[in-house]
């Protein structure tokens, strides 16, 4: 195979492979082909490809077990934004727990579980505490002395509220639903995809 014909084939292989490919591995991949390239031809083609990708966003890089395409570290600033951009979403359980702590504080985990009808995982409480939205205010003097949770100042700041009074009341929330039935519909269809 001519070098010029071999190069795009190697590009396809390097870009598709999830592992580095060595010259020997590549040579074996062509085994049985009518136009099987020699190891020297493969080496020559790789050399030219390394040059071709100088100045690109990624490079053909030699590592211990062969060659692979790799994103250039020069572009780290932008590439990391790909993952920073889409933060995960909190689960329903998390949102309901937070809502109950906000609206019914001080509240114990057991009380949250009673209202939600399911147990609340320690993880949920921990995440809310790590976020500094929720804190333990003390302990309820009942058997087991469960922690009483409430929201923090950071919670109010995050939601741009001056005080808990500014949280819409349940009546207001329900009125809102009545006036905007479309809202309910979009929510529903979103839930369907999620």
């Amino acid at each position: 195979m001519e070098i010029e014909k071999l190069k795009p084939v190697l590009e396809a292989l390097f870009s598709a492979s999830d592992k580095p490919l060595s010259v020997a591995q590549l040579f074996d991949l062509f085994a049985g082909d009518i136009e099987q390239p020699s190891k020297d031809e493969i080496r020559k083609a790789i050399e030219e490809l390394v040059e071709k990708y100088e100045g690109s966003g990624f490079q053909l890089k030699q590592v211990a077990s062969g060659f692979r395409f790799q994103v250039r570290t020069d572009f780290e600033t932008w590439v990391v934004r790909l993952w920073e951009q889409k933060p995960p979403r909190y689960s329903r359980a998390m949102m309901e727990t937070l809502a109950l702590i906000a609206y019914r504080q001080p509240i114990t985990r057991g009380e949250i579980e009673d209202i939600r009808g399911v147990s609340v995982s320690t993880n949920i409480i921990r995440t809310l505490e790590e976020r500094n939205w929720v804190k333990s205010l003390g302990h309820k003097e009942v058997p087991g002395r469960p922690a009483l949770y409430g929201t923090t100042r950071e919670f109010l700041d995050y939601f741009n509220l001056k005080s808990l009074n500014e949280l819409p009341s349940l009546v207001e929330i329900r009125d809102l639903d009545q006036f905007t039935p479309e809202l309910a519909f979009t929510e529903d269809s979103e839930a369907g995809t999620g």
Binding site: M95, G138, L164
Partner: protein, 268 residues
């Protein structure tokens, strides 16, 4: 099932192949002939009665628009009996189609009154369904033939060096919080024992402020919880909050002697 056919070659003529309309069938019908080994796979390959009918029509190069209904019905029924005999799972839809075919056949045999010349051909509905099904059967094949990920299309798999990623925290809108609260309350209200009522939040908030300021060790002056600048309502809210906390046994009020200052401490 299959072994019945694979080993039956020598005495096949003796064995009834199938029961068709109560009659034992010892010879495979000529127009249906398919090598027995393939039959099982073949019959299972149909995607339903429309698929089977289409097969019968296409195999004889018949026009879908002009189905010889009696002949097709007869062949269809033979297949149904074969499937039944082989104990293939026979979906109810096959039987529904059988009765539809029988009905069309009987209607076509009835003489039509002259004035109802324009009346639809009894086959019209069947033809419409066959055509529509055929259209999507073809569409499914075309779709299946498209280049697609994991088969013809491979994404590039370019290695990413270990970049330091600052994990973004999920964002939450106030609306999300409200709808979560509404949902949980709506759900809780289905159980009569839970009453999540509309308690004024100001009291709850004040309860939290009180709890925040006290601790089990220190004594906080009762008076400190009342700020005259908040006005009468503010004082009342603080008072109710303290009463509520007392009721829930979350705090203790301590007074050493009558008229001495009252202190608030967390219940220990």
């Amino acid at each position: 099932m299959e072994k019945v056919f694979t080993n039956s070659a020598p005495n096949q003529s003796e064995m009834p192949f199938a029961l068709v309309q109560g009659e034992p069938l010892t010879v495979i019908p000529q127009d249906l002939y398919i090598p027995p080994d393939a039959l099982l796979v073949f019959l299972e390959a149909f995607e339903g009665p429309l698929d089977l009918l289409l097969y019968l029509i296409k195999r004889q190069n018949l026009d879908v628009l002009n189905i010889p209904i009696a002949a097709i019905t007869k062949q269809y029924m033979e297949y149904i009996h074969l499937m039944d005999h082989l104990e293939l799972e026979l979906a109810a839809e096959y039987l529904v189609m059988a009765s539809m075919l029988a009905e069309i056949k009987s209607r076509m045999l009835l003489p039509r009154p002259a004035e109802s010349q324009d009346e639809d051909d009894p086959r019209a509905e069947l033809v419409r369904r066959l055509q529509e099904y055929e259209q999507f059967k073809q569409a499914a094949e075309d779709l299946d033939a498209l280049d697609r990920l994991e088969r013809e299309i491979y994404l590039t798999n370019i290695d990413i060096p270990k970049f330091k990623v600052k994990l973004a925290l999920p964002t939450v809108e106030l609306n999300d919080l409200m709808s979560a609260f509404r949902d949980v309350v709506n759900r809780a209200e289905q159980f009569a024992s839970h009453h999540v009522d509309r308690e004024p939040l100001s009291v709850r908030e004040r309860m939290v402020i009180v709890l925040d300021r006290i601790s089990a060790e220190d004594f906080t002056s009762f008076n400190d919880f009342f700020n005259p600048a908040e006005g009468r309502m503010g004082v009342v809210v603080s008072f109710i909050a303290i009463l509520e906390l007392l009721k829930e046994s979350l705090i203790e009020l301590v007074q050493n002697e009558p008229y001495a200052p009252i202190y608030v401490k967390a219940k220990s």
